[in-house]
């Protein structure tokens, strides 16, 4: 049984937790509140936690200075396709590596895992040349195909494999006796049971795609094709200096869906990580 903390110890623990929270909460707080401040107030000293005057026009300007709604849609649909694609591929690949005996399975899995060790900066130039030859530069295809068949998918495959390894073999044997084919066992038994792992894969992948920065700036050149992280850098004045309050308003809008998704799926996310034996 857990020992009950004394009231004094509780105060100390909660106090320490509040102090530790500051570095995590402050940047978000600063981003959200500064998006409502005039530029002069953002850099005022001492810094103000709550704006003296609230300026809501920044949010309107976000949508007039850039095709922000279009960019929002670009990020959303690309992230959605990447997430669904990665979930499909990683669950099938993870299941195969965990459950199907085939020659050199472990060696092949190791080779697949090597994909995690190669930084995207190393592969970006050859990828650019490839997509240039395929006529896909300044389209969204590279932003969809590279993550689905790249490192995020490898990581997702690893997470799914670890989950499927932990599924009791007897469930599968019972399904075989019940008359299910291998594919049906996967779709009817293994996949529905892998929801926690799939949820964490979905969040990881969505976040990765949503925050993707290097690939968009390499592959995209027209503003109406930009994704959000790239669009954020475009809120500049005539001299190229950042328009801080508008940029922070755009950043707040960018972070919002991720925060909402994470808060909703938090439980699954943690469960999924626990299943893989990984720590977040």
């Amino acid at each position: 049984m857990k020992a009950e903390l004394s009231p004094r110890a509780k105060v100390m623990v909660y106090g320490a937790m509040c102090v530790l929270l500051i570095p995590f909460v402050f940047p978000t707080w600063w981003m959200v509140t500064s998006s409502f401040k005039p530029v002069s107030e953002i850099f005022a000293f001492p810094p103000r936690l709550i704006p003296d005057s609230w300026d809501f026009t920044t949010y309107g300007q976000v949508f007039t200075l850039q095709p922000f709604a279009k960019q929002y849609w670009n990020s959303a649909y690309i992230a959605a396709i990447v997430t669904v694609g990665t979930m499909g591929i990683s669950s099938m690949a993870g299941y195969a590596f965990a459950r199907i005996r085939f020659p050199f399975a472990n060696a092949i899995f190791m080779v697949v895992l090597l994909g995690l060790l190669i930084p995207s900066e190393v592969t970006i130039v050859p990828l650019f040349q490839l997509f240039l030859k395929l006529g896909m530069v300044n389209t969204h295809w590279p932003l969809i195909l590279v993550p689905i068949f790249g490192a995020p998918s490898v990581f997702a495959t690893f997470v799914m494999r670890q989950f499927f390894i932990s599924l009791p073999a007897e469930l599968e044997e019972a399904a075989r006796v019940d008359g299910l084919s291998r594919f049906k066992i996967f779709t009817k038994i293994a996949l529905p049971l892998s929801r926690p792992a799939l949820a964490s894969v979905a969040i990881f992948t969505f976040l990765h795609s949503w925050n993707l920065y290097l690939e968009p700036i390499v592959f995209l050149s027209s503003a109406d094709k930009f994704t959000l992280p790239q669009a954020l850098t475009q809120f500049t004045d005539a001299y190229g200096g950042p328009m801080w309050n508008i940029q922070l308003a755009a950043a707040t809008l960018t972070a919002l869906p991720v925060l909402i998704v994470f808060i909703i799926a938090q439980k699954h996310f943690v469960e999924g990580l626990a299943h893989t034996g990984l720590k977040g």
Binding site: P168, E170, L171, E173, A174, A175, R176, V177, D178, G179, L180, K184, I189, P192, L193
Partner: protein
């Protein structure tokens, strides 16, 4: 319903033989229990019948049809697993009807069969629950329900009661036996618990290291074990063994002589192991002097372990004996109930 025949069935992993050429005939409607210590190959043999393990050589036939290369789903068998293997994301009713659903059975028939099976097993009020909402015994019943709903030719049980507590095990034992009496379908049941084997089986097959040591009815195995292994495995508490040399007046062991039956005369001069079941020991004035090591009163009987010469011997007595550890006691043997085994290879001596 169908008979199951295994002919010279072998299983090897690389160079290691797990099952060494088993020949076994299981009659239609028979309840056969495969019993043996851990690692003897009983579960492997069952899985070979189920089609979950391939057969290295030999033949497995169900209902006269060789099924070596036939998928588990096409063997017309149903299996109950040790850990129940219920699908956690499906209700009891869906679990039970799942195999029928995948065989193209109509919804009305599935519902009818599920309700029939649930009725037999007392699961009707639980049909809408999920496995996580059930107790161990209920889960076990659902696993059986999932098997019987298909009315297969053969039921296979792989240690289905080993995860239950002792009391529930006794209840479920009775239920499975009653189910067999009701359905009269061929059942093959794997267990390491010889009490389960004795109480449930029409025929027991004792396995050891991938070989059949003996098969027969429970009482045949109990009364006439073919060798020392079977004699020691069947019966609880286990049979006592004392090794010595046969003389004209009995078995000479560490300075004492144990009286032997008349038939022992033909083994005079031979090294023999004598087996005596605990219930065939007596406490009597003319017996051999022994020292009490342990007294275990169980109410309806008393189990006593004594030191006789160099051998610890266990006796089971209907009487409530007023003995204490460390005290002396005179132990007698019902000589007509003694078993004799070759000290060399352990086979039974008649």
């Amino acid at each position: 319903m169908a008979e199951v025949t295994l002919t010279n069935t072998r299983k090897s992993y690389g160079n290691v033989d797990i099952i060494h050429g088993i020949d076994l005939d299981i009659e239609d409607g028979q309840f056969v229990v495969l019993v043996g210590p851990s690692g003897c190959g009983k579960s492997t043999l069952l899985r070979m019948v189920a089609g979950l393990e391939t057969i290295s050589s030999g033949e497995v036939a169900i209902g006269g049809r060789v099924v070596n290369d036939i998928d588990p789903k096409d063997r017309d068998i149903a299996m109950v697993f040790q850990n129940y293997a219920l699908y956690p994301h499906m209700t009891v009713a869906t679990n039970m009807g799942f195999s029928l659903e995948h065989r193209g059975t109509s919804k009305s028939e599935i519902s009818e069969r599920v309700n029939w099976a649930a009725g037999i097993l007392g699961l009707t009020p639980l049909l809408d629950r999920y496995p996580r909402q059930l107790s161990g015994g209920q889960r076990q019943r659902v696993a059986m329900g999932r098997a019987i709903v298909r009315s297969p030719q053969v039921f296979l049980f792989d240690e289905p009661l080993s995860n239950l507590d002792a009391k529930l095990r006794v209840v479920m034992r009775g239920e499975i036996k009653a189910l067999h009496d009701k359905l009269r379908t061929t059942m093959i049941y794997v267990t390491h618990d010889q009490v389960e084997a004795m109480t449930m089986a029409d025929k027991i097959v004792v396995l050891n290291a991938g070989r059949i040591e003996q098969s027969g009815t429970p009482l045949e195995l109990y009364d006439r074990p073919a060798n020392r292994f079977v004699a020691g495995f069947i019966g609880s508490p286990a049979m006592n063994f004392i090794s010595g040399k046969v003389h004209a007046d009995g078995l000479a062991v560490s300075g004492i002589t144990i009286p032997l039956p008349e038939k022992a005369k033909k083994y005079i001069g031979d090294d023999v192991t004598v087996g005596i079941r605990p219930e065939h020991l007596t406490v009597e004035e003319g017996g051999l002097a022994a020292q009490v090591l342990l007294v275990e009163p169980m109410g309806h009987e008393t189990q006593i372990t004594v030191q006789l010469a160099d051998n610890p011997i266990t006796g089971l007595f209907r009487e409530r004996l007023a003995l204490q550890a460390g005290s002396g006691v005179k132990i007698g043997f019902k000589t007509e109930a003694l078993h004799m085994f070759s000290a060399k290879d352990g086979h039974r001596l008649e």
